[in-house]
Structures are given as structure tokens and as C-alpha cells.
């Protein structure tokens, strides 16, 4: 240990060189770790962006036709088109409308029911 207190010039030169290399070694390793970390996050972000770029599949309006509604209700007039509305919700809406108007449902004709989003209000 004493040789490090009264350090000789060759030992000092060696220590200086070793120290500089250790700093480089440490920071190069850290750089590699950060590059790996960065590439993982970049890939994640790229895949997220890719997913966002594909347009979300729009649900086609289920059409209640003669073929898919069995049996046909008495007094039914034509087809009802539903846009972003579940048949169950549509049934409820039609019942409310009929009740509010005081008319039987088979005397009313609904052509389509579409959900109005907040943006459209």
C-alpha cells in the first residue's frame, strides 16, 4: 500500500491509464444497456403506432331483414337499419317512443336508429 502513497511515476502512469479505461468501460457498458433499452421502447412504440395507423374496423349496421327475423311481427312495415345500436337498445327506444306518443308499436314505422356521439351533439 505504501507504494500508492509515495507513488512511483510508472505506477502513476499505469494507474492513470487504467482509470481512464475503467471510465470508458463503465460508460460503454452503460451505453449498451441504454441502447438496448431504447431499442425495446422504440419497437414497442413503433408497433403501437402501427396499430393506431390501421383504421379501426367499423361495425356494419346490422340490418333486420325478413331473412334474419323470424317470424315477422304482425303489421311490420319494411326494414329497420341500426347504426352502432344494439337490437336490444333499439327495441327499448321504439317502446319508449310508442309509449310517449300513445300509439301501438305496429302503427309506427322506424326506418333507422343511429347512436349520436358527443362530438355530433
Amino acid at each position: 500500500m505504501q507504494d500508492l502513497v509515495n507513488i512511483s511515476i510508472p505506477t502513476a502512469a499505469g494507474t492513470a491509464l487504467l482509470g481512464y479505461l475503467v471510465v470508458f468501460f463503465g460508460l460503454v457498458l452503460l451505453m449498451v444497456v441504454l441502447l438496448i433499452m431504447g431499442s425495446v421502447f422504440e419497437k414497442k412504440r413503433a408497433s403501437a403506432e402501427k396499430a393506431a395507423a390501421i383504421p379501426a374496423p367499423t361495425r356494419e349496421a346490422p340490418v333486420l331483414t325478413m331473412e334474419n327475423t323470424l317470424p315477422k311481427a304482425k303489421g311490420t312495415a319494411g326494414e329497420l337499419k341500426l347504426y352502432n345500436t344494439e337490437p336490444k337498445d333499439a327495441a327499448m327506444i321504439m317502446a319508449i317512443v310508442a309509449d310517449t306518443l300513445g300509439k301501438p308499436l305496429n302503427e309506427l314505422r322506424f326506418i333507422s336508429i343511429r347512436e349520436v356521439t358527443d362530438d355530433e351533439v
Binding site: 500508492l4 481512464y20 471510465v23 441504454l34
Partner: protein
């Protein structure tokens, strides 16, 4: 009551008499003048005023109250700390002895001696630092490494000038351009040199806008200085949160002696980035930082007692410190030049000089020099990468020197 006797006693105990009557009392007068000069530099010239004002006033208080043989009213007692460090003394490493005889600044100094203040300052630095530029371009770590060249050249130079190994290591770290790191390492390895090393470190950090530009111009061509760098990639919040955890784990495992500095730096940064500890982040970067700065500066200043400051070694340290700063700047620029060549001229080598730490002053110098040659060039964010890499680099350099020279002598 003997009025004349009381008056005589008051006169003989006064500092004015001590200048003349005590051994080396005139040296205190010189130190007081040095304190005035440092106060002038801090207040009027605004050289790192937050630190320099405290250091200068600590120096003033110490030299106003401590005279050899008249230590009763002293705020700082160098002989207590000499006994503390002397392995043959019965008071070796005895904080009890210090505390039972201490003056106010001795109490403050315990925080320096125990390595508490530099580590807490690092916590504040971490809470104030955005490591985003480094994360967006991790290659800037190479510039932070290259800019530690001055540390090891100055270390070698100090050995050539006759300093011991631990003293040379403490002098070399001035080249890291990081005040808390310099104080931390010097306190551990060569506490007798703390005053001059702290003064050199903080003075040169303040002089970076004068020291660096001539070297930057010397080592780069006008074409290089005009290089406009492209915007780095965007860094996510998650990356910023993970970064301090990764760095602390990785660097401390690699070099355990860096634990106090890197640990606190990264803890402060985690407070800032986590988004759930805003109050702690605010405290670390403001209230705590300010409180610790007051204690650190005054206690470091207090160590500037005449006997340990007014000697040839101080002049050597001041010169070696300047050499260390200049060579670190050159090392960073050399790294920048290599990156300029390897990137096909896409990297402006001026950002290399920011690798010397001294956040954010060195990055600002890169920005200013770059804009001088290309008005539309904004190098600041690109220079912040190597700049914060320099903080980690200087902590690793200090950790290495502490591993080699700690616990000897």
C-alpha cells in the same frame, strides 16, 4: 472589579492583537484579504456565487476566529481534525472528541467529512436534471467518458510535482468539473487539501466560458462548428422512470465506491421522473439543496486556514486544476471529432466539450460557440447529453480513484 484588568484581558484576547501577538497571525490577515477577493468574485463577478459567497465567508469566519494558541473562541479547529485523521492519536476517528470541543463550523464540517453534503447535493442535481437527451442519444456517454481525460492527466502531473498518490487523485478530480465530486473525493483522500481544491474546482467551473472557447476553436474547423444536428428521438416517460433505477443498479454493481454519489444522483432523478413524488423532488432540488449548499460552502471555506492554504502546494493545485480543465475539454472535443468523422459529419464536435460535467454551463458554452458560426444552430439539447454523461463519468472516475487510494496512508 479591576476595570483595567478586564480591559487589558479584552485587548489581549481580541483578534486585532492576535494578528501581531500570535505565531503566524499575519497569515490570517492575508487569508482575510483572500476571503474579500473571493467575496468580490462571487458577488460582483458572479463566479458561482451560491457556492463562492459561502466559501469566502466561511474562510473569513475561520480566519477571524482561529489563531494558533488562541482556539477557545474559534469556529473551526484544524488541530481537532488533524487528531481525527492521525491514526496514532487517541482521538483517531473520534467524532465524540470533535463534538465536545467543536466550534460552529466544526459541526458543519462533520457533514462534509462524513460525505453527507456532496451526496445530498447530488440528490438535488439528480432532481434538477433531465436525462432525456442522454437517453435519446446514449452515444453521448462516450463524450462524457472522453472528457475525463483531464482527471487522469492532472493526477499524473500532480505525482510528477511531488504530491502523494491520494493527494494527486484529489487534485486530478478537479478535471471532472464537478464540485461535489471533488469535495467528496478530497475529503476521503486528502482532507488537508480541501480548501484549495474546492476553490480551484468552483473557480474554474465559473470560468468555463473563458477556458473552453479558445480550445474549441483550436481543435475544430469552421465547417465542423457549423454542423447542424438533427433532432434526436423522443423519449417516453417510462424510459425516464426506468433510467435512474437501471443506472444506479448497473454503476453501483460495477463500482461500489460510487454508491453515495450515483445512488443519491439517481434517487433525486427518480423523485423527479416518477411523477408520484413531486413534493420530494421539489424539496430535493430547492429547500434541501439550498440548506446543504449553505453548510457545504461555509464548512469548506472554514478549512481555508492560513497554515494549510498559504503554501506552494496551493499554487500548484491552482495550476494543475486549470490544466485538468483544459485537458478534459480537449479530451471531450477529441471524442466529438471522432464522432464527427464516424457519423459522416452529422455530429457537431463542439458538443464534446460539454462532457466535462459542469451542468449546464458547459452545454451552454457549446450552444453559444455553435451559434456564433451558424445562427440557426441549436446545440443545447444535443450538448446536454454529454453534459449529464459527464456527471456520471466524473462519479465513476472518483469511484475508481477512491477504490485505488481509499483506506491507504
Amino acid at each position: 472589579m479591576d476595570i483595567m484588568g478586564v480591559l487589558q484581558k479584552l485587548a489581549s484576547e481580541s483578534g486585532f492583537a492576535a494578528f501581531v501577538l500570535t505565531e503566524g497571525g499575519w497569515k490570517n490577515l492575508v487569508m482575510i484579504l483572500i476571503a474579500f477577493v473571493l467575496l468580490y468574485l462571487g458577488i460582483v463577478k458572479k463566479f458561482e456565487p451560491l457556492l463562492l459567497c459561502g466559501i469566502a465567508f466561511g474562510c473569513l469566519l475561520s480566519n477571524l476566529s482561529y489563531f494558533i494558541g488562541m482556539g477557545d473562541n474559534a469556529l473551526y479547529h484544524p488541530e481537532l481534525w488533524s487528531q481525527f485523521l492521525d491514526s496514532s492519536s487517541p482521538y483517531y476517528h473520534s467524532y465524540g472528541h470533535i463534538m465536545s470541543n467543536a466550534g460552529l463550523l466544526d459541526f458543519f464540517y462533520i457533514g462534509v467529512k462524513a460525505g453527507i453534503y456532496p451526496s445530498l447535493i447530488f440528490m438535488g442535481v439528480g432532481a434538477m436534471t433531465d436525462f432525456g437527451p442522454l437517453l435519446s442519444n446514449p452515444k453521448s456517454l462516450l463524450l462524457g467518458a472522453a472528457a475525463q481525460l483531464g482527471v487522469f492527466v492532472a493526477f499524473f502531473g500532480a505525482v510528477l510535482l511531488g504530491f502523494t498518490g491520494p493527494q494527486a487523485a484529489s487534485i486530478g478530480i478537479i478535471g471532472g468539473a464537478d464540485g461535489p465530486t471533488a469535495i467528496f473525493l478530497t475529503t476521503k483522500l486528502a482532507p488537508e487539501l480541501l480548501g484549495p481544491i474546492a476553490i480551484a474546482a468552483y473557480s474554474y467551473m465559473a470560468l468555463i466560458p473563458m477556458i473552453q472557447p479558445p480550445i474549441m476553436k483550436l481543435m475544430t474547423t469552421e465547417k465542423m462548428r457549423k454542423v447542424k444536428m438533427v433532432q434526436s428521438r423522443e423519449v417516453t416517460k417510462t424510459e425516464k422512470i426506468i433510467f435512474p433505477i437501471v443506472v444506479a443498479t448497473f454503476v453501483i454493481l460495477l463500482l461500489p465506491s460510487t454508491a453515495p454519489l450515483i445512488g443519491c444522483l439517481m434517487l433525486g432523478n427518480l423523485f423527479k421522473e416518477s411523477g408520484v413524488t413531486d413534493r420530494l423532488s421539489d424539496t430535493a432540488q430547492n429547500a434541501l439543496m439550498n440548506i446543504v449548499t449553505i453548510f457545504l460552502a461555509t464548512s469548506v471555506g472554514a478549512t481555508m486556514v492560513a497554515d494549510s492554504f498559504l503554501n506552494l502546494d496551493t499554487i500548484k493545485i491552482v495550476i494543475l486544476g486549470l490544466v485538468a480543465f483544459a485537458i478534459s475539454t480537449a479530451g471531450g472535443l477529441a471524442g466529438g471529432l471522432v464522432m464527427y468523422k464516424t457519423s459522416g459529419g452529422k455530429i457537431n464536435p463542439l458538443i464534446g466539450s460539454a462532457g466535462v460535467s459542469a451542468v449546464p454551463m458547459a452545454a451552454r458554452v457549446s450552444q453559444d460557440v455553435g451559434r456564433k458560426y451558424n445562427k440557426n444552430n441549436y446545440l443545447l439539447m444535443h450538448a446536454m447529453g454529454p453534459n449529464v454523461a459527464g456527471v456520471i463519468g466524473s462519479a465513476i472516475a472518483a469511484g475508481f480513484l477512491l477504490s485505488v487510494f481509499g483506506g491507504i496512508g
